[in-house]
Amino acid sequence: MLCNEPMKETIVIVPAYNEELNIKTLLDEVRSAGPDLDVVILNDGSLDRTAEAARRSGAKVIDLPCNLGVGGAVQAGFSYAYENGYQYAVRIDGDGQHPPSEIPRLLEAIKSSEADLILGSRFLGEKSYGSTRLRYCGIYLLAQFLSLICRRKVTDPTSGFQALRRPLMYFFSQAYPMDYPEPEALALMRRQGYDFAEVPAVFRERQAGVSSIQGWGTLYYMLKVFLALIVDRARSVDPRLSRQRVMEAMQHGRDGY
């Protein structure tokens, strides 16, 4: 992948599946939070008119031809951001859970730190989000386990509110888990030598529509994620995608990175 565009600053990546009702408000909020932010909507094979709604509000839309799940959509977004020469990417969900007014805080955090990824955590700082007890227990267990294997403190492993740097964009465009990707992506990047840190963020209840993880889904989610985390530990590290190698290649401006 050749980068044939001049370097740009920041892009906001928004995976959206059937978010026709939320997307306009969200885009307006993003614009008022940062007027010079580029936004790209990943329309993940929505059945409603998400793409039209987003285009009408002036956002760039990538139309995935079929539903790939949030991992596949977000990965397409990272590829787009990387190919178009962006330095930073912020990922927020299309359902309005992540308030765009927090984006500047995340960007500030990533620019001022060494980390490749900044994770917006709803459990750091003041409590802002009502979650069911089962789900909270699940997230807590996951957070403990992830903190252990990543050797970094994680309080909100399922958060999709993230800001990341260019080298990590490249890594994620090459390797990103497909469904329920957030915790696994953290473990994968740590294993390849990338680093992350958390900052507190205020989340909201989703504006319209329903969450994809409910009831028995919570248990299935937990099982799937734990299995994926353990299996990933048993895989070998790919040196071609390691932080050191990617950073070196980027500094030398070699083709292919």
């Binding site: 760039k60 839309v61 990538i62 139309d63 995935l64 031809p65 079929c66 790939l68 596949g72 990965q75 397409a76 590829s79 787009y80 190919e83 497909m178």
Partner: protein
């Protein structure tokens, strides 16, 4: 089924004229359709043989039901099983080879099916190969062959799961690439 039951059953077939006529007509119908398809060359050799075999069995059964059943059950049980398994494995083998020949099935997937069919075929020709299994597990011949075949079929299914996962991952990458290219085309068109 006791001996008395079998005799009553067979006598019943002798007098059941309408079902016999219907079965015979079904056999003739198959022969008729087969003849037409063969004349217009729309059928390949293997299915033609299989269909004519089926038609022959139906017609012979409609003519001499008692005699046919008696001939079959007078043979040894294991022999009957061996013949049936031989047929099944030949069927699997022929269908696999035919599908591969018509390029509907890739060779690497065909390989496991061929192996499955060959294993059953070997068991049918040389019943002694499953003797060890029969001895260790206390199975009879049929159960032993079925369990061997089942193992192979499980392997085939596992193979499918793997290739499905791989092709799903590839499909996702293709979908992403396609969407990115589409976006790029749109951008270029707008710029023009």
């Amino acid at each position: 089924m006791g001996a008395m039951d079998i005799n009553a059953y067979l006598t019943g077939w002798q007098t059941a004229i309408v079902p016999r006529i219907l079965i015979g007509l079904l056999g003739l119908l198959i022969v008729l359709i087969l003849a037409r398809t063969i004349r217009s060359k729309r059928i390949s050799l293997v299915p033609a043989i299989l269909w004519s075999l089926a038609a022959a069995v139906l017609i012979i059964f409609s003519l001499f039901p008692q005699q046919l059943i008696r001939t079959v059950i007078s043979t040894e049980y294991v022999m009957r099983m061996r013949i049936m398994m031989g047929f099944v494995s030949l069927l699997v083998l022929l269908i696999t080879l035919e599908s591969t020949r018509q390029a509907r099935l890739q060779e690497r997937y065909a390989l496991l099916w061929v192996a499955t069919a060959l294993v059953i075929l070997i068991c049918a020709f040389f019943p002694s190969v499953v003797n060890l299994l029969r001895l260790l597990m206390g199975m009879n011949y049929t159960a032993a062959v079925v369990s061997v075949a089942f193992t192979f079929l499980t392997l085939v299914l596992f193979h499918f799961s793997i290739s499905m996962s791989i092709s799903q991952a590839k499909q996702a990458r293709i979908a992403q690439k396609l969407a990115l290219l589409e976006t790029r085309v749109r951008e270029l068109e707008e710029r023009r």
